[in-house]
């Protein structure tokens, strides 16, 4: 059930992302709701489906975005790697861990995009990219962490309690 749930949850998140959050910009940055959801989901103790969710999120965003599919896919998988690594160390403070992983994950996913753009011949001014896109996006992502954390935590509890009963 937890794997199947990825499709409606991340599908809805992607819709919110493209229809609403992409229009709410800070300088040139915008929040990445899918990344934040994946981070918080991967940090939940009982969750075993974080990898599947990362693949689903990467495919969904890659399908909609102008980026090639492997860029968001790789970015989200690396976010889950970071979340899983951190979960074993700071498992008693999931909110703090979420903030750390969101910072690391945003930097990783933006780094991947910038690397791809440079490789494909696009001229990027890294100073502008970091100050106008990455740092504002980071701030917006961190603002999303707290509400998303509570929603996803409740969802995880609901899903895994139901699965245990079954």
């Amino acid at each position: 059930m937890a794997i199947l749930l990825a499709i409606p949850v991340l599908g809805f998140a992607t819709m919110i992302q493209t229809a609403i959050l992409s229009r709410i910009t800070l300088l040139s940055g915008s929040a990445d709701l899918v990344l934040v959801i994946l981070t918080v989901w991967a940090l939940q103790e009982k969750v075993k489906t974080a990898w599947h969710w990362a693949v689903a999120g990467g495919l969904l965003v890659g399908w909609i975005s102008g980026l090639p599919m492997f860029i968001p896919l790789a970015g989200y998988l690396l976010v889950v790697v970071a979340a899983r690594l951190l979960q074993r160390r700071v498992w008693q403070a999931p909110l703090l861990a979420a903030f750390i992983v969101v910072v690391v994950g945003t930097l990783i996913s933006h780094g991947l995009v910038m690397a791809y753009l440079v490789i494909t011949g696009t001229q990027i001014q890294f100073e502008n990219a970091i100050s106008l896109v990455t740092l504002p996006s980071l701030l917006l992502n961190m603002l999303l962490v707290i509400p998303t954390n509570y929603l996803v935590r409740d969802l995880a509890r609901l899903v895994y309690r139901t699965e245990i009963k079954e």
Binding site: T14, Q17, A19, D32, G66, V133
Partner: protein, 281 residues
């Protein structure tokens, strides 16, 4: 006493006294007394009535308050509903204005065939400047078709599915448009940037460029029809150390507020890649 005034005389006296009082009353001699008595009576009646009503109100007020509250809730709901309707109607008026402007634009450019579309989303990545529109291959949209508004050029269709399409804006950093400066006829290439700005490049140093020059598509390269307005030159940079001079362009379209667009569906982009010679080994 009873014996000294026989009953008949008593009756006569009483009749005379009553008749006298009646005559005095009819003559208006008792007006002030009557008025005082009337005021007293009415005052008493008013006081009694008001107290009665007050007690009645007190006894029945809980029921009335409940019904008033209920009525108040109903009216507030009605007001909210009407306010929502007003907002919806205002939104419709705005949309109608925009669509009307698009229709006017289509009428003034009859050489092209347009398909109107709503912008339903933007690219999830902040590094890319794409919009998603709600028409796709089912409505005849093909990859490469130019997209405009009544103001000017927006971009071109980058990917299509049956019910939607993704449009690369001219402000995207991978976008390049061949342009023509209206006043001088100078040809150049307009590119987007990470921050959504537009820059003119590939202009020789000896070409005179002025601020406020109008930028139009040139049609070169076959990607866009010619003479679609893009914007105005706002800043020219002509440094001798650079290979070419550059200029910043203010787009006429506000890309952050684009809600409706027109896809030019009778324009077939030309693929000139086979004509571009590649250096031999």
């Amino acid at each position: 006493m009873k014996n000294s005034f026989p009953r008949t005389i008593q009756s006569v006296i009483i009749v005379l006294v009553v008749a006298g009082l009646v005559m005095l009353a009819l003559g208006g001699y008792f007006g002030s007394i009557t008025n005082w008595f009337t005021r007293l009576t009415i005052g008493s009646q008013t006081w009694l009535s008001s107290r009665f009503l007050a007690i009645t109100d007190f006894m029945t007020s809980p029921r009335d308050m409940a019904s008033l509250r209920q009525r108040n809730i109903e009216l507030e709901a009605e007001v909210s509903k009407l306010q929502t309707q007003i907002i919806e109607l205002q939104q419709q008026v705005i949309q109608t204005d925009v669509l009307s402007a698009l229709v006017d634009f289509a009428r003034t450019n009859p050489e092209n065939t347009y398909k109107a579309a709503s912008v339903i989303g933007r690219d999830p990545s902040p590094f890319l400047r794409y919009i998603i529109i709600n028409v796709g291959s089912n409505e005849g949209i093909l990859r490469g078709m130019p997209v405009v508004t009544q103001q000017g050029l927006v971009g071109r269709v980058d990917a299509v599915i049956s019910e939607a399409a993704r449009v690369q804006l001219i402000t995207d950093q991978n976008s390049a448009v061949n342009i023509n400066l209206k006043n001088t006829g100078t040809k150049a290439i307009l590119t987007g940037s990470l921050t959504g700005g537009l820059t003119l490049g590939m202009i020789a140093h000896d070409v005179l460029m002025n601020t406020n020059d109008v930028v139009l598509t040139s049609g070169l390269g076959g990607d866009f029809p010619a003479n679609i307005i893009i914007g105005q030159v706002v800043n020219v940079s002509n440094r001798e150390s650079d290979l070419f001079q550059t200029a910043s362009v203010q787009p006429i379209v506000d890309f952050s507020k684009v809600e409706f667009v027109l896809v030019i569906i009778n324009f077939q982009p030309v693929n000139i890649n086979p004509l571009i010679s590649t250096p031999g080994p």
